[in-house]
């Protein structure tokens, strides 16, 4: 190259000048810590005896960082860190608001409990095949999706946790796992590819991928840009990830096939990322399009709620029952998005947190029932009330929580959602929420009646049973039940946080302001 003499370009105006304070690193810690932990475990993958200890240490640090992050964003509003110090929208922003931070905290908490359960559920072979590294990379992807402020970055985090989930899903390489994994992998890949198409269109229209930048430019582009097309494609892509009817068929085909602890993490976390992405795109980015699409979302929500519960009624495998209960819960969350008022969004956020905790715990209880009675099938289960009274108490708590009965966590989000639906004159949604709750009560009540109250069916299954571990068995479910009971008995702090998250969604001005603070707000 010919030497061109020119004055050095002054880039200081395009850079964040202030050094990032040590406390602000908490934004990136819930993602960076598990990735580092996962990479470390990959390096020592032969020494499986180290895996569990490293995972617990990393998850504990991650949990502390998400809780610190949550307490900071509740107090001071959204916290932003822009990569490479380029000013947004040029650098990729991590934008932690109350919604993302609370979901990340709940997800890390549920994963930590599941990691303890895995001590007994995953044998040395499973560890050798990389259960714990996959677990850490999956929670990194999930937390990254919750905390990122950039759409393409969101796509990358989706792929991170999806590809980790493939590894977890086929751990063991049983025939049924491979069968389920084929359907899970193909349909999830199509969903993320549709998401990528949408990002391409969106960049063509907006010229930016930063969510706050999109939110502030949307009003000016609504006249001429095909925003409705983009919003509909987002509904398709994220609806598929969230397992909303009629795009939910990958979930009942695959979620009952892996190890029970894997099912628990999938049921608790992965569909909620889809719900989070729907909440983020349809309230922060495209509120006008959400209002236009609200009837479509409402129909999807009603069908998901009712058909999910009906699907659960028709199953005799307890894991598949829980899979359909997960789908039914997704419908309840979408109901709040269909109504769209701050109260409804509060209900959706609280329901999602409740669902992360309870769906994880429900799968774990089903796994404990398998350990205690030797079967997953309702035809074989029986006599557990007499032999395992503590397990019966836990299952009863699950029935109450999942159905939305007091004194567990399912009650308040449903109360809030029903109140919002009545205020919004959405009678069909009100009816569907209540009917699906009744159906869920019947479904899980029947599991309780058959597995616990019915006399023992088949004594030959006793050879397949093993004693339930106090810590890695009862302990993990108990830990998940503590916040669930807390939400049920004293919901004010949780409702307050969920209300803040919903307020941040309904009025994105604070979210936008936090990203562009360095440039004077707009």
């Amino acid at each position: 190259m010919a030497a061109v003499t020119s004055a050095p370009v002054d880039t200081s105006a395009a850079l964040v000048q202030a050094a990032t304070s040590l406390l602000d690193w908490v934004v990136i810690a819930p993602v960076a810590l598990p990735i580092l932990g996962g990479a470390l475990l990959m390096m020592v993958r032969h020494r499986t005896h180290l895996h569990a200890a490293v995972t617990f240490a990393v998850l504990l640090a991650t949990l502390v960082s998400t809780l610190m992050l949550l307490s900071r964003v509740v107090g001071d509003g959204a916290l932003v860190m822009t990569m490479g110090r380029w000013l947004p929208p040029f650098g990729i922003s991590f934008t932690a608001d109350v919604l993302g931070a609370s979901f990340a905290a709940a997800a890390t908490f549920a994963t930590s409990a599941a990691a303890v359960f895995a001590l007994r559920d995953i044998d040395a072979t499973g560890r050798r095949y990389g259960f714990y590294p996959f677990l850490l990379l999956m929670i990194a992807g999930v937390n990254g999706a919750f905390l990122t402020g950039d759409l393409f970055n969101l796509y990358v985090w989706f792929e991170v946790f999806v590809i980790s989930s493939f590894g977890l899903l086929i751990l063991g390489s049983e025939r049924r796992q491979i069968d389920g994994a084929v359907k899970y992998a193909v349909l999830n890949l199509i969903a993320t590819t549709v998401f990528l198409i949408t990002i391409g269109y969106l960049y063509g229209v907006f010229g930016t991928l930063n969510m706050a930048d999109i939110a502030r430019k949307a009003d000016g582009l609504r006249e001429n840009g095909p925003l409705m097309t983009i919003a509909t494609l987002f509904l398709l892509a994220f609806g598929m990830k969230a397992a909303a009817f009629p795009l939910n068929f990958w979930l009942p085909a695959s979620y009952h096939t892996p190890r029970i602890v894997t099912s628990a993490m999938f049921g608790g976390l992965l569909t909620k990322v889809g719900v989070y992405a729907l909440l983020r795109t349809f309230t922060t980015l495209f509120p006008v399009e959400r209002a236009i699409l609200s009837d479509v979302i409402a129909v999807v929500a009603i069908l998901t709620m009712v058909l999910g519960a009906l699907g659960a009624l028709a199953q005799s495998d307890t894991r598949r029952i829980v899979g359909f209960v997960v789908i039914s819960g997704i419908g309840t969350m979408l109901a709040g998005l269909a109504i769209g008022s701050p109260l409804a969004l509060t209900g959706t956020v609280l329901y999602a947190v409740h669902s992360i905790l309870i769906m994880t715990a429900l799968y774990l209880v089903v796994g404990l029932m398998r350990e205690a009675a030797g079967s997953f099938s309702l035809h074989d289960l029986g006599g557990l009330y007499r032999s395992h009274p503590l397990l019966a108490a836990m299952m009863l708590a699950m029935v109450l929580a999942a159905a939305g009965l007091p004194p567990l966590s399912g009650l308040w989000p449903k109360v809030v959602l029903v109140k919002a639906a009545i205020e919004g004159n959405a009678w069909w949604l009100t009816a569907a929420i209540l009917v699906s709750s009744v159906l869920t009560t019947i479904v899980l009540g029947r599991v309780f009646a058959l597995a616990f109250w019915r006399p023992e069916q088949d004594t030959s299954l006793r050879s397949q049973t093993r004693p339930i571990d106090a810590v890695a068995g009862y302990g993990t479910v108990f830990v998940l039940l503590v916040p669930a009971v807390w939400i049920g008995l004293w919901p004010e702090p949780f409702l307050h946080v969920a209300g803040l998250a919903a307020a941040g969604l309904s009025d994105p001005a604070a979210y936008i302001g936090s990203v562009f603070a360095a440039q004077g707000g707009s």
Binding site: R175, I178, A181, L196, H256, A314, Q315, L378, H379, L450
Partner: protein, 125 residues
Amino acid sequence: METALTALVGLFYVVSIYLMLSRHIIRVLLGIAIFGNAVNMTIFTAGRIMREVPPIIPEGQSALDGVTANPLPQALILTAIVISFSFFAFLLVLAYRAYQELGTDDTDEMRIAEPEGEGLPPLGY
């Protein structure tokens, strides 16, 4: 140039969706491979195609002189290619294992995880 590529992208989508609707896993996989390429070309075309016009702002100015291709979509595609390639590699192995273990590549016959005729759960005790 863009018009021709747009038509090609449309053709890619048609072919990939037709293949993905097949019952045979191998065709679905081919469809997914073409689907991924169709998406990459969509983004590539959307970022404008232009040869030999570097996106460099001349000295003393704060904006580009003329029209040029947007470099960011090309960076996005690079990321997307890497991801879709790794996914596709995994899917190929998974499909091959499924063919070995299940003895079929017809999705209608892949009913190990969801057996047909399971019957109703117990209706009473």
